[in-house]
Symmetry: D3
Subunit: 131 residues, 6 copies
């Protein structure tokens, strides 16, 4: 790739960079202790426990979708891809979110599908499973 | 059980009866076609697909918890018990809901834990798993 | 009515009485001026304007349903019956709320249908229209 | 208009194009059956029934406003203009949404008013009615 | 109190008892570690910090009101009375919640005003301040 | 500053300009009377009353954060800085919002922290207090 044009930065790349920068800003030395502890608790919730972390990422995705938070959807989609969920499985989870949350979820479904495309293009992502 | 006192009807029993009666009322012959089709779509969302139905019941539970709907929580808890999730697994899913949805979810967590107790007493329910 | 059994008080009657009593309590002489003004503004929003009041009651019902507030649904159903909407028209409006708001609205749809039955029994309510 | 500068593309034009492209992407051949059926159900909810489609577009607008979804607001505003609602009528509906939903709706009211201006400029839209 | 009628148990007393019982049930030995840690974090958020605990109870009340959670409202009203807020101050805070959250908050305002009455009757509560 | 580069316009400056322009548009002569009255009521809610205006700005901020409205957060952060709250105090209030509203608030916390930085850079803002 030495003499190739570098790939264009997508909105997902920009989100990742913004998220990393602001989280570091929020968690730096002088920050609010309660906020830091909340971030720790949040990370811990998705580690293997009675349920494995992979399952819990899918729970996080559906929670994000019904609460209609695009940034949260993007984050959990990246985690779901990394955890080994296939696109068909993620779509099946998003269908649950759509039925629970209604047509008001549709703009976030459009966003999610676009993000899934960006993950495939960038990371070669998504397991080629049948679910 | 001839000479035994029948078990007291719990709020979960009353909910089940109310839910069954009103759903029948909503879905009877003369009802709105769109509403009937929505109920069909809702049932279909939890059948085996790319994801198995068991996993999707857990998604439904977490969606219900973060959207803070006690009736939906009760319904999905009953489905989760029937699908074979253990109590520890369900608690781990509710922990994700609590972290995503915040302390405003706590009253619904209290409700959910009480419902889990009612399910255990009534149905002998919940698989004795480690998750 | 001297020798007749008085009709049983329904949950809708109790709601009406509670609502009237607490609103009087909230709006009494010494109360917060901003809260009183808000109540005035709220009443004014449903009076005839560019849209007639009847149409706006239906808007209020759908807003209440997607925001999942049973007390608000009951109030607007009573107003809709009084304004002359038929049951079929109200069901068609509730179908829009169900599709927009998703299955999380279903418990409130059950509540609404029960309230519509109570209104019919009590008030002889609901215009016999085709919509 | 052969030698004239084409009109600048507005954010509403971009939304329409994005919406059309992503909906096609979501509804293409290989997509999730449940999601496709949900989209059909969503379209059907706004067709003439007990209530006419025009009234139901206004219900969809108010539901979108109180649920605070800009994309949904834009879509329903376009539909309301096409269905023949006047600007005064739509503002009266948005006032109901504002009172029901509170000041948290104000940013979406700003968005809606801007969209109404864009519709007027682009489509010559909005019936010149008194309501 | 030997020959006096004990005071009737109010819905607030029942809530307090239920809340205490279920929280103990949730936090008992075998419970989910993440849930226990969340409860700790929740308690810590209302302790004196950059803001004093009294101010933060009022923040908790307004957050509970706009998110429309009656149990959370009851809990924070009890805490606000204990922290020394007057009724007039609490009403002024609830007015902010009403304006931000809209008429959908009104049923919760009725609930809150009733709870404030119950606190006054039971605890002699509420500082006699002018705010 | 005659020969200096003017400072770059930030997203906060653009928001302020957009907000002022659209509010003027909404409140102009021919606008909906109910909407104008709502805006008046909204302004009045933050004036000194039983609680001082400074405290009520903080209530408005927390309400905006748990309801997840970035525009509302930006507006109330500007008001909080002007009212004399320190950054540590505002962070302590945001921690309450985070615990009440859960991890779904985190994207809005990132936004809020970025806005606080923009306020400091632009206005020299924020009182240098310990809270």
């Amino acid at each position: 790739m030495s003499d190739a044009t570098p790939p264009a930065e997508s909105r997902l790349d920009r989100f990742d960079a913004y998220r990393a920068r602001m989280n570091a800003r929020i968690l730096d030395e002088g920050s609010h202790l309660g906020i830091k502890r909340f971030f720790n608790l949040d990370s811990a919730a998705y580690r293997d426990g009675a349920l494995d972390g992979k399952t819990k990422e899918l729970l996080g995705l559906v929670a994000s979708a019904v609460l209609r938070c695009n940034d949260c959807i993007d984050y959990h989609l990246e985690q779901c891809a990394e955890a080994g969920w296939s696109e068909a499985e993620v779509e099946d989870a998003l269908n649950v979110a759509l039925v629970v949350g209604g047509s008001i979820v549709i703009p976030h479904l459009r966003h999610a599908v676009e993000t899934m495309d960006l993950i495939r293009e960038r990371d070669g992502g998504w397991r080629d499973g049948e679910g």
